[in-house]
Symmetry: D2
Subunit: 254 residues, 4 copies
């Protein structure tokens, strides 16, 4: 049995999506390999052509690029960035980010729906970053999203699964893959999300703010795989009282 | 660098301690191997000599046995069981369990201190199961405990880290290894305990109540390793607001 | 000093908004009085004119009615219901509810913005029921909302403050009153919301599903007042370690 | 119907026990009256005879004094302090505190059992401060405790109900009143404890560290009464999905 994540018809063996926005270029490759990531997001500015160093030179060629539209404040700007990314050979996957709030960096769900619709029609595999609202997730699927990327907590906060109950609802109600993105701060939180049935987890800050970055990438890779296995294995029941683990409940002479 | 767990002078590479009390003998070996466990607890009744099937025949020989004193209601009974276990070649590790409450199966901390003292003097490597009380943990260390095994929640409940704040205090204050035992229901909870700096996690019911038992053992093994790596890597800070992950915080033309 | 809640220019002394949708008419008056509520929501169908019993006959005349647009699936339907309510003398307060999801009854934030804009221009004091999304809250304020009513959890679930972190953000960022509505199941949860600085709490199901309904209304009234007082009094700091409460930290002879 | 708290045969109408250890004498009376407290703890050093100011002069005469044995490190010292308190007319109620850990100020459960036994035989109404361990609670009842006072979190920490699951077990299993003591930081936490069926809550630091101390005392008094009423009224069920609050589930024309 192979358990693969399929996004827009493309199969992946890893369910850990790595953000590359906060690492120095020197360690990008080691971080990707430690985490076992097969999809890596990147902001267009780091993939620019020309004289400067280009992050694309540091990412192994078997990795699928997921350029984001970071910096876009409207659907129109997001569409423009996505097309630019395709032109410079970042492929046809795109993470739509439309943000108009600079303090919490919350996605603008409705501009995101608009951008998703335009880009899906234009042949992109669209993964929209969203505020976890069931109605919006349904609209994104109707607009052609290949997956949805609901936030766990504000970007970069490491706060964890603040939206737990609402992501659980998306898992139950939405047919495309659910990728938890933003706010996950610890491997245990990524593991918990996977146990709930989420399809993948994306991390950037939690790895980048660790003291030992490659080792933290490994920890996230293991936690995500663990949570997936636990989901597939089927979690046991929870009791309020105790239940003896050992068959020896009375003393020997009993 | 090797990161080993050392208990009573014995080094271990795995930090997953597996309880064997609830599996059928046929799958014990597969469960141990999937989880990568190097220490396995067992109740004396399953290791009896004579005509019946003996769990010892099913446990790989490189695994350290940790017989428990399940069934003991007093220090005296625990001591008796421990000695019996040593006689039938279960080795000199012992998990002291003294329980007088049949509904929640909470350890009797004071009988446990007494049994620990007697058995430590008698050459055992003593790992007492305890209610996580800092004063008692100190007394157990004085009595010769090689590690302490505070409960997360009632045995077999799968409730998770109900004693989180108090286990964190033990991690900060107690010099011998801290092994969280009882109540852990999900790999994410085992991972969280390890992230806090706990030295090892013991599970039995959470694995045994899964639909696919060997796969859940694998999930726990991965989660515990992940949590250890996260602890070693150093968790990042937590913020209330957002912090951009991507360097592209303004739009392209900005 | 008087601490009043002001909505659309109208001052209120109580911060407990009571939903009337699930009580029998016989006890409505006792429930309102026990809880000290000065605003009561009602669905139009219970306020119909004609032969049947009319809830309006049971509500004390000093109470402000807050008719909701329950049943509306679009902005247009919500506007129609609001106008009908005004015609039958329910006043000019209206709680806008636009719901297209029948399982979780989540509000459709964008139809809600549209209805709010139309009704605010039409002279209503508009209180929109919303999914707690900061961008949407800002749009509702721009559209003329007199207050916003973010949900704590699905309507009628009694699950509590599942949206805690996001409501806290609304408290910090939004200038109109924040009224937590839907999902609050216990007085302690209403109290916690008020401690966070929320301006008022609305309850219906938590009161209606209690065994003693008027007594539970009293409990909610007290909890909401308590939480408000705690917010005004200023909560103390939280420590990880202990700090002696008693001045006698050494023994008498010390 | 009167709902009274009865401790050692003495009935009380209030379930808020106030610690006096951190207030200036000038406001003690106002704090007691705002909170509606009928029992006030005090450390012996503040009740000393002689030239200095005496807290006893500031406590209304209808209030029951609960001197604590703060400073005692052994049962013997606790007994000595208790007898001294009785001699200087603090009455025969005593809160036994035996603490040997100076960082977390955790009670020494076993010295506490010993002191309880001696003092109960000596005619005191004994309320022992304890680490919430079911076995120990049973021993305290056997030793003659009139109530038990399990901690919520370290003294003075304002951390809240860290021991929630274990206090719930005490509520179910122990026949004498359960008084949550230490660590409660907010009225909502006191309210939650009371909703669980706890008989009373004691606070000191949470009130003393507020900006407006008498107002916070009022907030605690209200929250504790609210939680008691909610417990008596019977909390409603919790659902995962929604359930309509309004009878108008279809639109008007439906």
């Amino acid at each position: 049995m192979t358990d693969q994540l399929v996004i827009g018809g493309h199969p992946f063996n890893s369910r850990f999506i790595l953000g590359s926005g906060k690492f120095s270029l020197e360690i990008v490759k080691a971080v990707i390999e430690n985490g076992g990531a097969e999809i890596v997001t990147l902001a267009l500015r780091r993939a620019n052509l020309g004289g400067e160093e280009n992050i694309l030179d540091y990412i192994p060629s078997n990795v699928t690029l997921l350029p984001n539209t970071s910096g876009a404040r409207t659907a129109e700007e997001a569409v423009k960035i996505a097309r630019l990314a395709r032109e410079i050979n970042c492929g046809n996957f795109v993470k739509v980010e439309v943000i108009r709030d600079s303090k919490y960096l919350f996605p603008d769900n409705y501009e995101t729906i608009k951008a998703t619709e335009i880009l899906a029609k234009d042949g992109f595999v669209v993964l929209p970053y969203m505020y976890p609202d069931l109605n919006v997730a349904r609209d994104l699927v109707s607009a052609g999203a290949a997956a949805v990327m609901p936030l766990a907590a504000p970007i970069g906060s490491n706060k964890g699964l603040s939206t737990r109950d609402f992501i659980e609802i998306l898992v139950n109600e939405i047919a495309v893959p659910i990728i938890v993105d933003a706010g996950i701060g610890r491997p245990s939180q990524a593991c918990e999300a996977m146990e709930m049935g989420v399809d993948a987890v994306m991390c950037n800050t939690a790895v980048a703010t660790a003291k030992n970055i490659p080792l933290m990438a490994r920890a996230f890779g293991q936690a995500i795989e663990s949570g997936r296995n636990a989901y597939l294995a089927g979690l046991g029941r929870v009791l309020t009282e105790a239940e003896a683990s050992s068959p020896l409940t009375g003393f020997l002479e009993d």
